[in-house]
Symmetry: C2
Subunit: 378 residues, 2 copies
Amino acid sequence: MGSIGVVEPHQMNFRDALPLQCGASLSDYTLVYETYGRLNADASNAVLVCHALNASHHVAGMHAGAPRSEGWWDNLVGPGKPLDTQRFFVIGVNNLGSCFGSTGPMHVNPATGRTWGADFPVVTVEDWVDAQARLVRALGIERLAAVIGGSLGGMQALAWTLRHPARVKHCIAVATAPNLSAQNIAFNEVARRAITTDPEFHGGHYYERGVVPARGLRVARMIGHITYLSDDSMEAKFGRELRNGALGYTTQDIEFQIESYLRHQGDKFSEYFDANTYLLITRALDYFDPAGAFGGDLAAAFVPARDNRFLLVSFTTDWRFAPARSREIVKALVDNRIAVSYAEIDAPHGHDAFLLDDARYHGILRAYFERVAAEVAA
Amino acid sequence: MGSIGVVEPHQMNFRDALPLQCGASLSDYTLVYETYGRLNADASNAVLVCHALNASHHVAGMHAGAPRSEGWWDNLVGPGKPLDTQRFFVIGVNNLGSCFGSTGPMHVNPATGRTWGADFPVVTVEDWVDAQARLVRALGIERLAAVIGGSLGGMQALAWTLRHPARVKHCIAVATAPNLSAQNIAFNEVARRAITTDPEFHGGHYYERGVVPARGLRVARMIGHITYLSDDSMEAKFGRELRNGALGYTTQDIEFQIESYLRHQGDKFSEYFDANTYLLITRALDYFDPAGAFGGDLAAAFVPARDNRFLLVSFTTDWRFAPARSREIVKALVDNRIAVSYAEIDAPHGHDAFLLDDARYHGILRAYFERVAAEVAA
């Protein structure tokens, strides 16, 4: 297995207005993307990778002059890796509203000449998928061999089969859910409140003041991070270990290693992530609910996907999107007699497992992609 | 079953310095307490109730002129109730560092003449129990018939048997744990960071500025509240219900009922609770770890309690202090051949179940207290 090496992001501008679920539309927007591998002659070997909350188009490879800049799914995507770039043409795309290059709240609203800020339209999973579909067509691909994503990325993969079922064959949705539970929404809401009540948030118009609601972003990330890890893996990694070997009897300084770790995660995140993007992306999570339009009948929602093929993967210790949530999707597909493979991986790492290199997990993805490759003669 | 009716808090001042685990000591401190029922002639029918994070000495009954001021465990304590005040003399005491009357960070440090603020000593479960033991003695009670508490209150009940085993017979510890897990500490730490990074916190010296870190307290309470409820009960109560019937596509306003509920809980809490108290109490939770001094051997920690009797109760859907944590305590007691009864209640309400009136739960407490009453001829 080799590495992809140095990759370069591209960008594509779109002039045609994109109608959004919220009723507004976006015109003159840009999507940033990367590609790995080569598109074959009949453009049948393309695989789209959808990103989750804090990731981007930079799925694999490195950026020039930036050591340790491996893409977020570099362990999966590359020559000889489970998603093999010697066989597939892999596309990573940054979603609208993000802070990694595609049009978002930190950019200028062409209609007003001012920074969007909190006025950036509230985009949804469906909007993202529609924008991705335009990009894919512009790259000369009428039909994707597969779309793959984990967590929020898995929701996008599912949405492809509902909105553009003829333009994709296989859907690989990992560690995802058919919608958020009340508890999932609750965690998102606390994170949002931490951000929006930060005095530096200024109602979402902080760019022009040259400030950043870093305190809120830190707390938001700390909350999120707890939900990405399993109770057991946190216990195994940190337990009750003290940072200085003995108690300091302090309420404001760090006593336990887990505190140090969480603060570090929060600090790092607040330095690179945008607060308005955090709000937009958590809302996209909250809103995703394909069964909603069918009175909660998920099987009815999946009728359009009847010619698609699915692989679902969940992880036993994922309490954010527990295996039971994936099984709801499997049941809806089976009820429609849609071909679905399902793997429940016994992994200790909680929700984050979808990003890690687990032998059984990657073995399943490798085998599935080999089947896809055989179909398209990749 | 009747109600206790109107009750009045009392206070007791202590001049003798109380040595604390942190190495400091508190002199000239006050404890606020309430009592219900009558102490019998040989002072053998007293039961101490220990409070958890946001509660107080006001366990049962009402305060004069304050409708809806029922104590926090009024469903348990009263004439004819499971902890029957016609048979027992019940004591509720507010812990040191609290914001409900006992000496705390909002009071004046007699040594400096200035408000304690963040300089209030970091008190522990063991310190609280030592202070409670002095109060109990001052009330003329050499030995409690029982000590009872839930959650952090359960930790105090356990600590009584380790620090003052001869001064209490029965320990009833509900929905508690022998220590916090890394995940438990992590949630506490995020809540503390929300408070301490609120610009109105001023390093814990906000009283003299006439401000309150309300934003931080709100977020802290929202986080805590999620961990008190089970995923299922939140789902059953709120699900994905929208507040206005249709999506508003907004990142800052309320969309879902669960958001409205959490914000309300946060707002209410920030109006009555003190930020320094929140820090102190979460630290007391973090620090509690009786096995810590015995290399993690919980059975060794419980050797002093060999003449005590225990009832432990846990709730199936409590993911903050799961039944497995109570079972660790049961095992440590059994390893010491200490008499212990254990009930695992199949209740849907998560950690909060210990405050609710569940028939099986209250039935078990009633039966246990009847046994205790028979022993002391109450």
